[in-house]
Subunit: 392 residues, 3 copies
């Protein structure tokens, strides 16, 4: 039986596993320069069929820090690689050269497919607009580094919450750990429905559609619509679904840039309306102890003037991507053990009634040899195993 | 005197050397993860001036598995590298940084030229339509892995035998080892004349132009023309140059894809007419013990339905490329010795009477500083030392 | 306090430091294959945002020879990397993964900027038309290898001295070491004014605008204009600013190619008029002991016929780039100490009166967050800290 572990979705790890992983990452962080013998003789395949320099370099730094080696295929065009070959074949070939495979791919579900065909562990380094789970690990780890824990916190997620893929996984992960999440989005760019559904399906979590009052002109003199996810609405002193920031202390603001390259035609009239995070913003009493996080690259949603502020943690957050990925690679290659409860496996089964209709799903793209499989959510709705979209 | 060895053509190694190399590869295969100290301190230059991801990654995996290091130049356009520089200069510079050079280049004979100018061993990773000898090593090694030997076998080479460069070297190498080769090609895409001439020039080998009868509809109800190369025609029970498959047991079918990107204008009417290798095909009694090989990537000439068949060896064949290349690199760097008879050296000499007319030959491309050299075959015909084409 | 050392300009090292560096390089050259444990556990970021294969491979070879590891970003287009991100941010992120950063960038001053924002040592591998100081180190080292010293020599710099960036740094460095420099340029392509000014500002050095007489037809029967920089004009037997080569023995000729890709529109009528260095040229008595150097790639300014001449040192010069860069990396990472006088630090200060007007300066490109800083030369002229151009 194939007992290998992959890391395709943040849901592949239980909260307990994530916490143990972070203890390993703490150790890696201390040993950055002295860990280079651990994975000697091991080889990573770094397969980036969509540009993503920062993520690729972070993975390759991690493997090298561990003493392992890397072979790299990094090409803007997946097509030039394939020569008409199926993704399954490409994955089988490259993974047969290596001990672990890191895959970035433009199609949703590509990493799940790869995990099925590769005999070695597969890490999802981003699959289209679907998941980018190691970014979420890094985001969580940065928050834990600054706040010492991941539960009972109050976090604002700020910016483009529609196309900013990292915000989706982060909102879900924070809610899982028991942290309250306030989503303040650019107009028209709030969380997509499927994320909202998954959040409200969690035990005890309620959604509150709010208006955030603009005391002290934090929001340039305008009220802002927001979504709050919490197990403890009383703690927020809501009245008539209006939230006054005053009196609420936030632990972190997670800022994202407008994903201009992903904006659809009908989003074209959406501008950047939220004010940037700057010194004036951070001077508000609610943010006295709030660290500022950002998955980077930033454009201008965080003002350069606060780069030196002790609450600005985004650059150190990027640096922490290396020890987190070191921990993940070590674990998947069997060099670190976790004796905690694993995440439950999804109940997957074959499905002949319908096929995934998501045009960017790997099932649609590679359907000539792939078998449609599904999993059911607690509401018995049927989801594509690859891209997680619902099948009708 | 320069006693370095290069690997430019499969003819650079004798049968005995290839057999010893495969014994080394067996050892490498066992030690994949524990061999990482062998070439510590050694550096490979991986110079791919034409895209070839699989081959490049396989070489780089091999060097890393051995503990050596790799520096890589991988660019679709040779021109962007050269800045008007001669290939000889490029090779001199990069090889001066490294201990061994792997070269992929669009021009025939480029690796031979590189071997002349580099002070370190050079491996040909494909030079235009000319040779790709490490692929042939891998093909032979895969066959030997499954059949235990390379002589006295019966092998079908199937598909595009005109533009499928790997089929040329393989046919020649198999004949050298004493294995019978049956060439079944797409219409109009059989072996080119120069390969046929070299095959029939071998001692004891005769060519038979055949019609393969289509019992059991193996070939979609049509008879197929084929070429047979054998030292023992009686063993094939030919009658009137018709071959009945029934009663003949094959050891392997080597399948290649149609090289659509290389089809010339006047080949445009050639379609893919041979049936794909599928379960029905393999159910024929002649193929009961026939392994299926393919240099990959495959498109649709092998049906996905047989991927799980124990005779389907093409993915393991790809994986074996790593230990074979480990063995080759170790040998060329002097870390493995072979005390067997070497391949005879070609008698090369300068030639002022004429210059190579092959428009893709490196002699034509770099002729302003290169000296034309030739070698003579047993019929005293004069061949270009670089691309092996005949000079008139 | 940040006590890290960077290497952005050849002026960052004193003559004494360069001499010690070359002693380290001598050692590295002897230990090429046995030095692989020295920097084990160290990681280099190789960030090439402008194509430069030879320089990149040389740096990566050096780091690998030392046992360190490399992560590489090599892209023709800086833009595809940045996604609108500032260079400061890119540098902060990548340098946070690594122990040392090597940067090639199209904008003048980019490496200086990087050094300000990176917590790790930064090496300038070429910043637009500004500096390429490791090339200068290699040029000096090659000259010292052949002549045993760097002072009291007579060196011709030959070819495109306007756009050939390496000639600028070399002329300045040679003058600093006390070597006389004779600049013979293609018509219209002599040293730019700012280099001439810096040369003549050096203590004791005078500039002589000359005509080189063409005895023995060294210059195809034409007289050539030239510039001579020397502390000892009497040694050159000048009469009426005419120089007769006869009787003057040169130690080296440093040849550069015409930088056709940098020629401005109004340079279009400038052809290559200087004769190539060939056997006839070298047969002149003045060049009996003159080594021929070239930063490579060469096009046709050195004839292939002299490649085998013992005075032709350009290929060995390229190879020496590896031990020189090994020495530099080892020193910057603190594994080699230099107990000699350091180069004086430039007196840098903020400057609000004006901003750099050089359109290719990183100050102009990244001005929305950068602060203009300046340094003053002995004449109290104000220079941009990044691109060194004068501010009006």
């Amino acid at each position: 039986m194939n007992s290998k572990r992959d890391f395709i979705s943040i849901d592949d790890f239980s909260n307990e596993e994530i916490e143990v992983l972070f203890v390993i990452a703490d150790k890696m962080n201390l040993l950055l320069h002295r860990s280079h013998g651990v994975l000697a003789g091991h080889l990573m395949g770094s397969l980036f069929l969509e540009p993503s320099t920062r993520t690729r370099l972070s993975f390759e730094a991690a493997m090298n820090r561990l003493g392992g080696r890397v072979i790299t295929m990094s090409d803007a065009a997946a097509s030039s690689f394939s020569k008409g070959e199926s993704l399954a074949d490409s994955v089988r070939i490259v993974s047969s050269y290596t001990d672990i495979l890191v895959l970035r791919h433009p199609h949703a579900g590509a990493a799940r497919l790869a995990a099925e065909y590769a005999p070695v562990p597969v890490i999802n380094a981003g699959d289209g607009g679907h998941e980018h789970p190691t970014q979420t690990l890094c985001d969580l780890y940065a928050l834990r580094q600054t706040k010492g824990k991941l539960d009972g916190l109050r976090v604002i997620i700020y910016g483009d919450l529609k196309y900013g893929r990292t915000t989706h996984s982060l909102a879900l992960a924070l809610a899982r750990f028991g942290t309250d999440v306030l989503c303040i989005a650019e107009p028209g760019l709030n969380l997509p429905t499927y994320v909202r559904n998954r959040l409200t399906a969690m035990e005890g979590i309620s959604e509150h559609s709010l208006v955030v009052a603009d005391e002290n002109s934090v929001f340039s003199g305008e009220e802002r619509e927001a979504l709050l996810y919490t197990k403890n609405p009383q703690g927020w002193q809501l009245s008539d679904n209006a939230l006054k920031l005053a009196g609420i202390a936030f632990d972190a603001i997670y800022v994202t840039r407008l994903q201009r390259e992903r904006l659809a035609q009908d989003d074209a009239d959406l501008g950047q309306a939220l004010p940037p995070i700057d010194a004036r913003f951070l001077s508000h009493g609610s943010f006295q102890d709030a660290v500022v996080l950002h998955p980077l690259p930033r454009v201008d949603e965080i003002d350069h003037e606060i780069d030196g502020d002790p609450r600005s943690f985004y650059f150190r957050q990027a640096a922490l991507g290396v020890p987190v990925r070191m921990a993940l690679i070590s674990f998947l290659l069997g060099h670190e053990m976790m004796r905690v409860e694993r995440a439950p496996k999804r109940d997957e089964r074959e499905w002949k009634k319908a096929s995934c209709a998501n045009p960017n799903c790997v099932m649609t793209k590679e359907g000539d040899y792939l078998q449609q499989k599904i999993w059911k959510d607690p509401q018995e709705r049927v989801h594509c195993v690859f891209c997680d979209e619902m099948l009708d």
